[in-house]
Symmetry: C2
Subunit: 359 residues, 2 copies
């Protein structure tokens, strides 16, 4: 008898970053998780991380999550539709139309198949970087096909919910067009930007500031995985790529011609600000509003300990935190993010204990 909306037993096929994180999150929510991976070493790491136990051919599961590379997703999903009779089969792929097409071509009981895509990840990969809270407050797109049963969709939504994510239903085509813009093209743009400095001397490239570093962070991602994603979503990616590249080329032409260069540059920069304002906050999605208590800290052993001792003495839960200071500098800044209700009390308490608040 199922205690949770999707059932009790989850099978995760593929224990990379996302698969292992799904296992961790589902176990944290009390589910029984079975793991499967073609690479025994990767499977072992996921088990050690606490994501579940080896499936060992056990087919009695309620829900199967396929977390393998994009091109293999459809075939592996079809295989498990056959193997795990009665189970709902979903996946976590960054593209939806391609695996859906593959599953449809293969046939079988397609009412039990529903596409899925938790919009979370990082530029690192593998089970070692997995985390139970990778999906926390993140959108988890659910893509039912024309024949998916409502029960199957609801099960995937319930899993997303158990993982702390926000289920969002979209059809595969809408998902792919949207993700081309929000994810696939940003990846390619970051790579093209980082790639444009390879002609420089190392000494010269070292003059880059934090702006270029942040803008190109995604360029650390796995080229093989991303080649699969962008080629699997070719038409949408091509169109969205043009929408970024074309204005840059027009600006280049205006700068060289010396006509309208200012108007052109300013329009591009202002449009960028508008786009920025549409992005969700730090935690993504409908963010928990947190407030930062910004504290000046001396750069000496024990200063942070003293600060956190003082924070803890107020029994305030620190939601997130950031410390910035460079070696050898007398001062640093600690941003302590807390729920709004805790802000005033913490700020007053830290001031009373002699800390200087920067904001």
């Amino acid at each position: 008898m199922a205690h949770r909306a999707w059932g009790e037993r989850l099978l995760v096929v593929g224990t990379g970053l996302i698969g292992t994180s799904v296992g961790l999150a589902a176990r944290a929510a009390g589910a029984e998780v079975l793991l499967e991976d073609s690479d025994p070493g990767r499977l072992r790491l996921a088990i050690q991380a606490g994501a579940g136990r080896s499936a060992e051919g056990d087919l009695h599961v309620d829900l199967v999550v396929i977390a393998v590379p994009p091109r293999a997703t459809g075939l592996v999903a079809s295989t498990w539709l056959e193997l795990a009779q009665g189970a709902t089969v979903t996946h976590v792929c960054g593209v939806q139309s391609l695996p859906q097409r593959d599953v449809e071509l293969h046939g079988g009981d397609l009412t039990r198949f529903v596409g899925g895509h938790p919009i979370a990840g990082r530029e690192t990969s593998g089970p070692v970087y997995a985390s139970a809270d990778l999906f926390q407050e993140r959108p988890w797109v659910i893509c039912p096909t024309a024949v998916s049963s409502t029960e199957a969709s609801n099960r995937v939504a319930a899993l997303a919910d158990d993982c702390g994510a926000r289920p969002v239903v979209l059809d595969a085509a809408t998902h792919d067009a949207l993700l081309a813009r929000l994810s696939h093209v940003p990846q390619l743009v970051a790579s093209a930007l980082a790639g444009s400095i390879t002609g420089l001397d190392q000494d010269r490239a070292a003059l880059a500031g934090p702006g270029l570093r942040d803008t190109t962070r995604l360029a650390d991602s796995d080229p093989r995985l991303w080649t699969e994603i962008v080629t699997a979503n070719a038409a949408d990616v091509a169109g969205a790529l043009r929408d970024v590249a074309q204005p840059l080329l027009e600006l280049a032409a205006a700068l060289e011609a010396g006509t309208e260069a200012e108007t052109n540059a300013q329009a591009l920069l202002e449009e960028g600000r508008r786009g920025r304002s549409m992005l969700p906050g730090k935690h993504g999605g409908a963010p928990v509003e947190l407030r930062a208590v910004t504290v000046v800290i001396p750069d000496e052993p024990g200063a942070l300990a003293r600060l956190f001792g003082d924070v803890a003495a107020e029994s305030v839960n620190v939601e997130d935190m950031r410390v910035e200071h460079a070696t050898g500098q007398p001062l640093g800044i600690a941003e302590i993010l807390v729920l709004p209700a805790a802000y005033d009390r913490l700020a007053a308490a830290l001031r009373a204990r002699g800390w200087t608040l920067a904001s």
Copy 2:
């Protein structure tokens, strides 16, 4: 009698983010700092921040730092070359050739003029965000003209040094070509990328993940300032823009034609990784190599305090730190960055005290 290599009295003209930060850093190094700004409100904020005192027409200074928008820089520098007899005049502008040309056109004692550009900043502006350690370990480019005296160059280098920066000498043309790639084009690319989502519904844009947020962080920058910078460096920016946009358009064409799309995508992604590996680390420049001790922390009041108490008990200096966990999740991760020499000791000590290390 000068106690420091550039003299004793510094005048900062323009108390925005960079000017105020120069004042703060120079004062932290013991200098006397005079401030000047056409906007009395901004001047007052800089004084309140502790960046110096109002210049009040006092012209007895050894070094003048012009920190005004790019297009005004040359003219303001020329004015202060005349007003502050004997003083070295430099600036902090993101472009070098334009202000240098303006100063040369204006004439006067050009031996005392040296261009300068501390490669530091943030997407916020104004004296409120200024910080004494903005330049710490950052490169500070010094651009002597053909007639700049060695003494003038040395003074600017000594100021950079006092601010904790690393002086790097380049000619103006080399600086501008380099910064087009490392700074001006990344700004425009971030803006074009952010601008490419303005056609989406707000609900849909909210599905964006942290990747797009980081990649477009620069798009928050001031459009007016950046319009001045990129139009002041038009030819170099145009060329560098093409080097980013052209490969993106070629990939778009390959994706649509379906020929060579994989090879093309993978090559672009791999070139991006190569570029990434050329960038300096977190602290910029020739980075201090830091190592991260990654600790699993329970999400409960007092856990961070306990962790930092334990870190402090080892008398290890925390160089930087990052805590990541989402509200309501049982576990979070703290990355404690320390000098390599301290890593083994701290890791062993934390394990001995019962902490789980994630790496």
